[in-house]
Amino acid sequence: MAMAMIRALALVAAALLAGGAGAEPVTTFRLDNGLEGVVIEDHRAPVVVHMVWYRVGSADETAGRSGLAHFLEHLMFKGTATRAPGEFSALVDANGGSDNAFTSWDYTGYIQRIAADRLELMMTLEADRMTNLRLPEAEVLTERDVVLEERAQNTESRPGALMAEQMRAAMFLNHRYGVPNIGWRHEIAALTAADAEAFYRAHYAPDNAILIVAGDVTAAAVEALARRHYGGIAARDLPPRERAQDPPPIAERRVILRDPRVAQPYLSRWYLAPVRRPGEQAEAAALVVLAEILGGTGATSVLGRALEFDGKVAIGTSASYDATGVDSGLFAIGVIPAAGVEVAAAEAALDAALDRFLTGGIDPEHFARIRMQVRAAEVFARDNVQGRARRWGEALTAGLSVADVEGWPAALQAVTPEAVMAAARTVLDRRRSVTGWLLAPAAGQAGEAGK
C-alpha cells in the first residue's frame, strides 16, 4: 500500500505539470442564458466526452448541512419529470457509454464517455436533469444509506482518510474547506429530500454551468446542439458565491491520530497555499514546480535525497500541490518513516531538509530537468482528451478565464528558480501549517484492538 501510495502521488504530480491547453483547437462559446461552452477537438478516435460542471461544491453548503452537495450529486441519477430513477445511467449504458459524477469543495461535475455519434442523447439527458429533477422520498432515503456506506468505506475504514479529515478541520478556521466534502456522518444522516431540492434550486441553472465537450466533434456542431438542448433553459440570475474566509494564519497546529488499524505510521504536513488567480498565475506555477523539486522522483528530489537516500529515515516522501481552487489551496508533504524510525525523528529530518533547501536554493541541473519535464508533459497530456477536459472544468469553475487556461502552460514554462524560492519562502512557513501524525496506539493503550 505504501508503495502504491507513493506511486499514485508521483503520477498526480506528473499530471499536474501539464497545463492542458495543448496544441489542438479549443473553442469556447456562451449561450444567451449564460451557459458557457468549451469544445476540445481530438479526431483520433470516434469518441466523445460530455461534461456539465456546476459552480457549486461542498464549500457552498450552509452550516449543519454538510454533505449536501455530494448527496445531491447522487440524487441526480434518480429521475426527472419524464425519466424513471436509474434511467439516465441505463440509457448511457445501453448506448455503450460510461457515466460518472464527482463533487469537490468547489465544483460538481457530471461526465459521460460515449461514441461520438451519441452526443445528442447525452445533451438531451443532461439538459433534462438540469431543470426537471424529481426526488421521490423512498429513493432519497435509500440513497442516503448508500452515501453513509460510501463514507464508511472511503473514510471511516481508512485511518489515513480520518486523519486527513481532522487535519483539514484544523487547517481552516472559518472557511468551509475545513468540512469534509462527503459530510460529517451525523449531518449526512439528517439530510432530507427537501434539503436536496432547495440546494438544487439554488445552484443548478445554465448560468451557473459549464458544458465541456471533447473528442471527435466540431465546435460548430457542438454549439448548435448545445443551443438546441440547453438554450431553452431559463437563466436564473443566481447571486455570486459568498463564502466565509479565514483570517491570516498565525499558529502552527498539530493533529495526532492513533488507530489500531495503523500498520504503517506516517507524517503529513500541510501548508495553506495560494491558488491561481485570474491574470495572476505566476506564484501558483512556481508552487507546482516547487512540489516537483521537493517531492518528484525519490532518487532526485530534495526530500527523497535527504530522507530516503542520505538520511535513510524514510521509505517514501512526497510533495503535492493543486494549483486550482476558488479560495485557497494546500501544499502537502508526506513522509513514511523507515522501520524503527519514530515519526518525531522523521519530522525533525524533514524540517532540517526544508531549512537547508530554503537557505541553499535549487540545483540548476535539477531545475533544467524539471523544465524539460514540463515541456514533455504538454505533449503527453495531448494523448488524454478526458484529462484535458477535466482541467478546463476545474479552472473555469474556480473563476479562471479562458485566457488563464490557455496561458497556464506558458506560466509553467516561465517559472524561474528565483520565483520558486520566493514562493517556497512564503508558503513553507510553519505558522501556516498543520502537521499530522498517524500512529498505532501506544503500548498499553490497546484501544479498539484490545476487544
Binding site: N95, V146, E149, E156, G215, R261, F309
Partner: protein, 443 residues
C-alpha cells in the same frame, strides 16, 4: 416499466455498433522480435508496452516475493548508473517508465518523445538487460515492500481477498500476494533477484505493443536495440494450478465500521469457447460495479446496503475463478450476503431476459471502441490482447461475436458459470449474524 420501454426505443435509435477503427500492423524486427504497431504520427511521442509471460508465478518455492522485488529494482540502478544517476538521466529526457508485475506477467510501460527516442531506448535497455541490484537499493526497495505488506495486513478488503485466493489455490503462487510474506521478503538475497531476472525477462516470452509516432522499420530497429540483449530463454512456465475452493462462509474478525466481503467460485478459462459469452453475462451480473448491474441494483440501488459491488472473471493463465466483493455495515452484513446469494441463484436458474441480453449487447459493443482512445490506452489494450492469446484482427471481429450471442447460449453459460452451491464467501469484520461454516439455507 417506463424505464424498459424508453430504453428499448433508445436502443433502436442508437443500435449501430461503433467500429473500432484501429489498424494494427504486425511487425517483426530484423532480430526476430514480433510486435503490434499502430502508427499515429499526430503527437510526437510513442507509447510502448512490453509484457513477459510468467510474472510472479515464476517465484521459486522458497523465494516468494523475488520477482516483485526484482521488478521494483529495475530502475534503481542499471548499467553505468546508480539509482540517482539513472533517475537523472530519465528526467533529463522526460521519458516515463513504469514496471509492474502480476501473477502471470511482468509488464513495462514507457512513453518517450520522438526527439530523444534513441537515448530513451538506450536507458530503458539498461534497466531491462543490465540492472545492478546494488545492495543499498535492495535494502531501500525491500523496506518499501515490507511497508506495503504491513499496510495490507490491516486492510480488511485485502485480507479477505487473499483469504479467498489462498482457499482456492493453496500453495500455488496464485494463492498468496506476490510481495511475499514479511519472512520470505526478509530472506531474499541478491542471488535470488539475479535468478528471478534471468527467469522472468527473456525473449521467448515477450510481447510488444507500440502506438505513436514511429514506423514499422523504426520500431524493428528499436526493439532489437532494446531487447536483443536479453537471454533467448527464461524459466519454464509452471503447469496448471488446481482450483480447490470449498463452498461455505469464513468470518475473520476485524474491528471497524464495516465488513469487507469477498466471494468467489471456480471460473472459466480465457481460451474456453464460452469465455466471451461468460464475459457478457457477467457484465449483466456485476462487472465494473456499473449502475444497473444486477448486484448493484439489488445491493445498492434498491436497499442501500453498499457503496459498490462488482464481480470479475479472474481468468489467470493457469486457472480461473469468478471473484467479487463489497463492503457493508456490520449490522446489515447478513442481509447483504443473503441478497448476494439470492442473485447468484437467480441468474444460474433463470438466466437473463431477452431485454437484458439486448441491452448488454448495445452496451458491450459500444463500450469496446472506447478502450481504443489515446495512444497509451491503445497500447495497453494491444498488449493485454496478446497476453490473452487473441489475434490482432480480433478487434475487428469482437463486436460481431458479441452480436451473435443468443439467449439460449447466454443462459446455458449463466447456468454453467454461477453455482450457488459452490460459492465461497469470506467476511473480514464484525458481521452481525454471519458465522463461519457451510452455506446456511436461504431465508
Amino acid at each position: 416499466m417506463t424505464r424498459i420501454v424508453l430504453g428499448l426505443v433508445a436502443a433502436l435509435l442508437f443500435a449501430l455498433p461503433l467500429r473500432a477503427g484501429v489498424a494494427v500492423e504486425e511487425v517483426t524486427s530484423p532480430g526476430g522480435i514480433r510486435a503490434w504497431l499502430v502508427a499515429e504520427p499526430e503527437i510526437p511521442f510513442v507509447a510502448l508496452e512490453i509484457g513477459f509471460r510468467g510474472g510472479s508465478s515464476l517465484d521459486p518455492g522458497g523465494a516468494r516475493g523475488a520477482v516483485r522485488l526484482m521488478v521494483g529494482l529495475l530502475e534503481e540502478g542499471a548499467g553505468e548508473r546508480d539509482a540517482r544517476a539513472f533517475a537523472e538521466a530519465r528526467e533529463a529526457l522526460a521519458a516515463e517508465f513504469g514496471f509492474d508485475v502480476d501473477a502471470d506477467s511482468v509488464t513495462v510501460s514507457a512513453r518517450f518523445l520522438t526527439e530523444n527516442r534513441d537515448e530513451a531506448t538506450a536507458l530503458l535497455r539498461d534497466a531491462l538487460t543490465a540492472p545492478r541490484f546494488d545492495a543499498e537499493a535492495i535494502e531501500r526497495v525491500r523496506g518499501q515492500v515490507a511497508a506495503s505488506i504491513r499496510a495490507d495486513s490491516q486492510d480488511p478488503g485485502t485480507l479477505a481477498y487473499w483469504a479467498l485466493l489462498a482457499a482456492a489455490f493453496g500453495s500455488d503462487p496464485y494463492g498468496s500476494s506476490d510481495t511475499g510474506s514479511a519472512e520470505s521478503l526478509a530472506a531474499l538475497t541478491r542471488d535470488d533477484l539475479v535468478a528471478a531476472h534471468g527467469a522472468a525477462l527473456a525473449r521467448d516470452r515477450v510481447h510488444v505493443a507500440a502506438v505513436g509516432d514511429i514506423t514499422g522499420p523504426e520500431l524493428g530497429r528499436l526493439l532489437d536495440d532494446l531487447l536483443g540483449g536479453l537471454p533467448a530463454t527464461g524459466a519454464p512456465l509452471p503447469g496448471p494450478a488446481a482450483v480447490a475452493l470449498a463452498p461455505g462462509i469464513t468470518v475473520q474478525p476485524f474491528a471497524g465500521p464495516q465488513s469487507a466481503v469477498v466471494f468467489g467460485q471456480p471460473g472459466i478459462d480465457k481460451d474456453d469457447p464460452d469465455f466471451l459469452v461468460a464475459f457478457v453475462v457477467n457484465e449483466v451480473m456485476g462487472q465494473g460495479a456499473r449502475f444497473g448491474t444486477r448486484l448493484m441494483a439489488a445491493l445498492r440501488e434498491e436497499r442501500g446496503l453498499t457503496y459498490g459491488v462488482d464481480t470479475s472473471l479472474y481468468a489467470f493463465d493457469r486457472g480461473a475463478l469468478i471473484v467479487g466483493g463489497f463492503q457493508t455495515a456490520n449490522g446489515r452484513a447478513a442481509e447483504a450476503v443473503a441478497v448476494l446469494r439470492t442473485e447468484w441463484a437467480r441468474i444460474a436458474t433463470a438466466g437473463l431476459t431477452a431485454e437484458e441480453l439486448a441491452a448488454i449487447k448495445t452496451y458491450a459493443t459500444g463500450e469496446y471502441p472506447l478502450r481504443f482512445d489515446g495512444n497509451g490506452r491503445i497500447a495497453a489494450n494491444l498488449l493485454a490482447m496478446q497476453l490473452d492469446g487473441r489475434p490482432a484482427d480480433y478487434i475487428l471481429h469482437r463486436n460481431g461475436l458479441v452480436e451473435a450471442i443468443t439467449l439460449e447460449e447466454a443462459n446455458r453459460v449463466a447456468a454453467r458459470l454461477y453455482d450457488p452451491a459452490a460459492l465461497r464467501i469470506v467476511v473480514v469484520g464484525e458481521p452481525a449474524g454471519v458465522v463461519t461454516g457451510p452455506l446456511p439455507p436461504l431465508p
